[in-house]
């Protein structure tokens, strides 16, 4: 630096160096704590679907643009997240559900109304409008648009893994179950499998993106096999694999007949098998959080802790997570929060991929948000796994006004 050529400048340099040293001494370490090489980087986010009625006007404007009003995505937020994830050199993206607004009944002849408060059917379609307006058609159309948005990722180094969410599997207007939960429909599960199944898990394509194939690919329980009292084919909704000594498991948290529940028994067997193979780390991805994040006073349980019944099943699920020191990545709540609910395993909520924020602009203005700096951020997590098994979880995001991308949080799991 040419400053050294001047005595005055040299003094300034020395002063600045002292200031820098003082700042370094006072400030927390900026670098990751693990200095061994990063062997794998992946990202995760969920909930990019837009809502046709209750979109966040403070963020996206008074009216949706024609594109997002038709295909029900927050394209601006989600596409920006995808571009940044790729610039961060993530080789895998786990999308934690609610890629479509869905919420209908993707069965022949069923049609929900505009607010999805009522559903009619089965009625054989008599006109083109009947077909185009049907729930089945809407689900498929929205899936296709989302697939188009993520299609470039595998071509440029990032394999995409889908996770089913309640908007894919449940029917909003259908009668609720005895526990007050919306019910999932087998036809919705089938629509999901039809539109996502090619990604679960295409080992050849995975190998072409990441250089080597995943190992020990396992699929969720088929019909008739019910360690978790499941009755429908889950082979495309829950699945797992090993890669580079790490184990990844995706679970359906809203299977038909067991809505708002994780397949704890299947997962326990899956993680036990992976542990037996010597897996060093366990990463689990599901749509609904195990523990609801109270972003403001009075927030009701909307995750796996929604009711007494589901909470009991949640406990069984979380015991598995804790037993294997797994990390649970989730969506559903349209916000960002990373925590250790019971002081052990991490729960990473990143259901902030574009859907209307749970924390409203009015709540932000009233100053009642728990984490006002991040509760209304579009956010995702990028995870860096080090050679020694250490893990950095980095939360990134930008605010509702689409400001600059910031590091929202940094967490380290020791080897």
């Amino acid at each position: 630096m040419t400053l050294a050529s001047s005595k005055i400048a040299a003094t300034a340099l020395a002063r600045a160096a002292l200031a820098a040293l003082a700042a370094a001494a006072l400030a927390p370490a900026a670098q990751a704590q693990d200095t061994t090489p990063v062997v794998l980087t992946f990202s995760t986010v969920g909930d990019s679907r837009q809502d046709p009625n209750t979109y966040d006007q403070a963020s996206v404007g008074a009216t949706l643009n024609g594109q997002d009003a038709t295909w029900l995505q927050n394209t601006k937020a989600f596409s920006r997240i995808l571009r940044t994830i790729q610039s961060q050199k993530s080789t895998m993206l786990f999308f934690n559900g609610d890629m479509i607004n869905g919420y209908g009944w993707a069965n022949y002849g069923y049609t929900s109304n505009a607010t999805q408060s009522a559903i009619t059917g089965p009625v054989a379609p008599a006109t083109t409008a009947d077909i185009v307006g049907s729930d089945l058609m809407k689900h498929y159309r929205q899936y296709a648009f989302w697939r188009g948005i993520v299609a470039p990722l595998p071509e440029t180094g990032t394999y995409v893994f889908p996770v089913p969410g309640n908007h894919e599997t449940e029917c909003k207007a259908c009668p609720k179950n005895s526990d007050g939960q919306k019910v999932s429909k087998v036809e919705n599960e089938q629509a999901y499998a039809a539109n996502m199944g090619d990604l679960i898990v295409d080992t050849a394509r995975f190998a072409s993106v990441l250089g080597s194939a995943p190992a020990n690919v396992a699929y969720g329980p088929a019909v008739g096999y019910s360690p978790d009292s499941l009755t429908t084919d889950q082979s495309k909704l829950s699945y797992s694999f090993d890669f580079q000594g790490l184990h990844f498991a995706v679970i359906n948290t809203d299977p038909v007949g067991q809505e708002t529940s994780a397949p704890a028994a299947w997962l326990a067997a899956d993680l036990a098998a992976a542990s037996g193979r010597g897996a060093r780390r366990f990463f689990v991805f599901g749509h609904k959080p195990a523990f609801t994040y109270a972003y403001a006073p009075g927030v009701a349980g909307s995750g796996l802790d929604a009711t007494v019944t589901t909470t009991a099943r949640r406990d069984a699920f979380w015991n598995v997570i804790e037993q294997y020191h797994a990390t649970y990545f989730t969506g559903h709540m349209h916000t960002y929060n990373i925590s250790r609910p019971l002081g052990g395993a991490y729960q990473v909520i990143v259901g902030s991929g574009g859907s209307p924020f749970d924390a409203s602009a009015a709540q932000a203005a009233a100053g009642v948000l728990t984490n006002p700096a991040t509760d209304r951020d579009y956010a995702w997590a990028t995870v860096k796994v080090h050679a020694d098994g250490g893990v950095d979880i980095l939360g990134y995001g930008f605010n509702a006004s689409f400001g600059p991308t910031q590091l929202l949080g940094q967490y380290f799991i020791a080897p």
Partner: protein, 204 residues
């Protein structure tokens, strides 16, 4: 006497050379905290508006960067002002190497000439063949933030009403076509001293 005159001319010529580099922009050191810093990758860049009192040549530019890997590279560029809303045309660009958390940049620049009274934008960006890791950060919290900054996160251009307090240091050398007043005075003092020596020699 001829030697005396030559010495005087040399002294005067020396006085007309560009001044040594001085720090013309210094925001102070940011807080060094990763959380809250800006993403610094191929999808995100920042720029800040600076100006110069007189015609100058920029010698060095540094930014406060965190969480890279030593040896990785990023770009530092200078843009013209496009009328007050952000960077206009690209004037100069160079590649910098990340050395470690803290001030990182380039020195020994040549030909980065700027006009006095004009505004410019210094930009930090990861692009092209740059190798800076995708999770590097632009540190915020500088005590004397620039008044005007812009950023983009690949979804558009952000002119920040609340300036981004990233760290920036710019060193520049003033370029002067005629001796500055102080230099002129020094030259006159030199001539007077030489005349005094000549007078004393004649008196002996």
């Amino acid at each position: 006497m001829t030697k005396t005159l030559l010495a005087s001319l040399c002294l005067a010529a020396a006085c007309a050379l560009p001044a040594h580099a001085t720090t013309v922009v210094d925001t102070g050191t940011p807080d060094g905290q990763a959380v809250g810093s800006l993403a610094f990758d191929s999808a995100d860049w920042v720029a800040g508006q600076i100006s110069f009192a007189s015609d100058s040549t920029i010698d060095a530019i540094q930014g406060h960067v965190l969480a890279g890997t030593a040896g990785e590279t990023f770009d530092i560029s200078l843009f013209a002002n496009d009328g007050g809303v952000g960077p206009g045309s690209l004037l100069y660009t160079t590649t910098a190497t990340f050395a470690g958390d803290g001030w990182n940049g380039v020195s020994g620049l040549t030909g980065w000439n700027v006009a006095g009274g004009a505004s410019y934008w210094v930009e930090f960006e990861v692009q092209g063949g740059d190798t800076l890791d995708g999770t590097a950060l632009i540190d915020l919290g500088a005590p004397s933030a620039l008044a005007h900054t812009v950023s983009t996160s690949d979804s558009g251009f952000h002119y920040d009403s609340s300036p981004l307090s990233f760290g920036l240091r710019v060193d520049a050398s003033t370029v002067s076509a005629v001796p500055a007043p102080a230099s002129g005075a020094l030259m006159l003092a030199g001539l007077a001293w030489l005349s005094l020596l000549a007078f004393a020699r004649r008196a002996r």
